[in-house]
């Protein structure tokens, strides 16, 4: 029987074996595609997804159907359009797309075909992170299977719709996940982001209209088409619709990933699903949605995982995968680790990010090494503003500042202790 409350993971088995085409079809796979192609006009498919309220799972949370509907599709618009799957998952603490890619590749492929149909794209690329070797292998196989079954290629399901899907594996760099940098990477260039406007929807890959969607986003699509808008809306517990993969890692009893309704309280995720903190450790704080979200504190445990609710609490839903800070890990060192990541992954295009992040790292290192000064904390705060939203060319640097600015707010005494030379006896990694 289909697990109707967990559409995304219903085929995923605990033994890590993956869903074959037969497995996938046996639980209703490719029915959504069949419906879309035989019963719906592209615009209607867009409309369904928009009405369902599916919001992008790549981090920004934009309504997916609405995004599709902005692609110019009238007569005199460019005839070539592209769909690109963002499977570059590289944000520290984020491990949701890999599961979907490895365990149920056909779910993604069906989502891609439907999305491509909805925007009338004839070519789709799956931009896959280079280190995901197993996913690459399984996707490549699944693509062959789908083609053999007529889901892909010329005349998809004997319709007039043609689609090629190519798997493109990347060669590293977090910035490739930023959608416009991703397009440059796909074009074989240095993956520096592009200015917006023009948005990729209007001028993307090789200047053609292009939709970039996250893996998880697209995995939702077949189910919306198959089971309908109302069913999908009924899945959410709060304001947002559908389910989402939520995860947690760190010193918790059962780190992992769970498909849960949107709007699930954080406490439920950490305490019930993750089993709470490991013995001997206390919860000090957490990054609710990956490395580029603000810290929240135990007092925020009752916040629900909805885009707006998390934002109201002062952070972001991000990727929905939490990183737990325990009481024996030094938040300053944790922030240093994060900032080193961001500094290293800065593409080098814009000044605040390129030069501001290394300075941030230098300051944090100085502080940790006992060379810090009180005014360094002001400098750090200044940098969090300097590298904030709108000030840099893309969202990497502002993302990098989120854990830092909240750490300075919530864990200031930890920074100060280093500076005044009174370092607590903390377990460090």
């Amino acid at each position: 029987m289909e697990k109707m409350d967990k559409p995304l993971t219903k085929n995923i088995r605990s033994d890590r074996a993956f869903a074959t085409l037969a497995d996938y079809e046996s639980t209703g796979g490719y029915q959504g595609l069949r419906k879309a192609i035989t019963q719906l006009q592209p615009k209607e498919a867009q409309h369904w997804v928009k009405e369902a309220g599916l919001r992008g799972r790549g981090g920004a949370g934009f309504n997916t159907g609405l995004k599709w509907s902005l692609v110019p599709m009238d007569e005199d618009a460019a005839q070539t359009r592209y769909l690109v799957v963002n499977a570059d998952e590289m944000e520290p603490g984020t491990f949701k797309d890999r599961l979907l890619l490895e365990q149920d590749p056909h779910q993604l492929i069906e989502g891609v075909i439907i999305a491509a149909y909805a925007i009338q794209a004839s070519i789709a690329y799956i931009f896959l992170r280079g280190e995901y070797h197993l996913a690459a292998q399984r996707l490549a196989n699944a693509l062959l299977e789908a083609r053999a079954k007529g889901y892909l290629g010329e005349h998809v399901l004997n319709s007039g719709f043609n689609l090629e899907i190519y798997l493109h594996t990347s060669a590293g760099r977090y910035i490739c996940g930023e959608e416009t940098a991703l397009l440059n990477a796909l074009e074989g260039k240095r993956a520096t982001p592009r200015a917006k406007p023009p948005f990729p929807l209007v001028s993307g890959l090789w200047g053609k209209p292009t939709v970039v969607n996250n893996v998880e986003t697209l995995c939702n699509v077949p189910h919306i088409l198959h089971y309908g808008v109302e069913w999908y809306q009924s899945l959410g517990r709060g304001a947002d619709k559908g389910t989402k993969l939520f995860g947690a890692s760190g010193r918790i009893k059962h780190p992992g990933l769970w498909e849960l309704p949107m709007g699930t309280p954080i406490r439920e995720i950490i305490e019930d699903h993750a089993g709470g903190m490991r013995d001997g450790y206390k919860l000090r704080g957490f990054l609710p949605g990956g490395a580029s979200t603000d810290f929240l504190l135990p007092e925020h445990l009752d916040v629900v995982m909805d885009y707006d609710a998390v934002a109201k609490a002062g952070s972001r839903m991000g990727t929905g995968t939490m990183i737990i800070l325990d009481d024996k890990t030094c938040p300053v060192q944790m922030v240093l680790n994060l900032e080193q990541f961001f500094a290293q992954e800065s593409c080098g295009w814009c000044t605040p990010c390129r030069d501001g992040l290394p300075w941030t790292v230098t300051l944090l290192k100085d502080i940790i090494a006992g060379r810090g000064r009180m005014e360094d904390l002001d400098t750090l705060s200044g940098l969090t503003r300097m590298l904030g939203p709108g000030n840099t060319f893309c969202a990497l640097a502002p993302g990098a500042m989120e854990p830092l600015q909240s750490a300075l707010k919530y864990f200031r005494e930890d920074f100060e202790r280093y500076i005044v030379g009174n370092i607590a006896d903390m377990e460090t990694a």
């Binding site: 280190e131 060669a171 490395a291 990541f341």
Partner: protein, 163 residues
């Protein structure tokens, strides 16, 4: 006037490499798009991309060596220096760091007697850091060649090198 003569092209690439690279070209609007894939193909055959290979690939794709080098040096999975037969990538991002990534690095480096990026004396291994491998629920993790190893224990060397 341009180059007065045309040099024999693609010197230094094997037929297999050239064929694989050419096959990729059908997937994209232009040849430039193949640059990263082409470098990876060379790397698959030779572990790393030498200057000579880079120049040859550039020529095959109609790019200048500098253009291709600009791309090659942007991405961290393109090696422009020799690496061991197996590259061991240990994740040093936040969760793995929290759960012992540095110990793993230390043990591996000590055992193989290499620094990061160096090749072990027998030419078998190179150890490099990598950003989050997307398996934080099994931290710490290590990517050995193509294989992702999860939940690496304190006994990293045995876990990874299997001895």
């Amino acid at each position: 006037m341009k180059e007065p003569t045309e040099k024999p092209v693609f010197e230094g690439l094997s037929l297999a490499e050239i064929q694989e690279i050419n096959a990729e070209m059908t997937h994209y609007e232009d040849k430039t798009a193949v640059s990263i894939e082409a470098l990876k193909i060379v790397q698959k055959h030779r572990r790393w991309v030498s200057d000579a290979c880079l120049v040859a690939v550039a020529e095959l794709l109609g790019l200048s060596p500098a253009q291709l080098e600009g791309v090659a040096t942007f991405y961290n999975l393109i090696y422009r220096q020799p690496v061991g037969k197996t590259v061991i990538h240990y994740c040093n991002s936040v969760t793995c760091w929290m759960l012992g990534a540095e110990h793993i690095r230390e043990r591996l480096c000590r055992h193989l007697n290499v620094g990061l990026g160096e090749m072990s004396a027998d030419g078998e291994y190179t150890i490099l850091p990598i950003v989050c491998l997307g398996a934080c629920d099994h931290a710490p993790v290590v990517l050995v060649g193509d294989k992702l190893l999860l939940d690496i224990s304190d006994d990293a060397v045995t876990d990874i090198l299997g001895r």
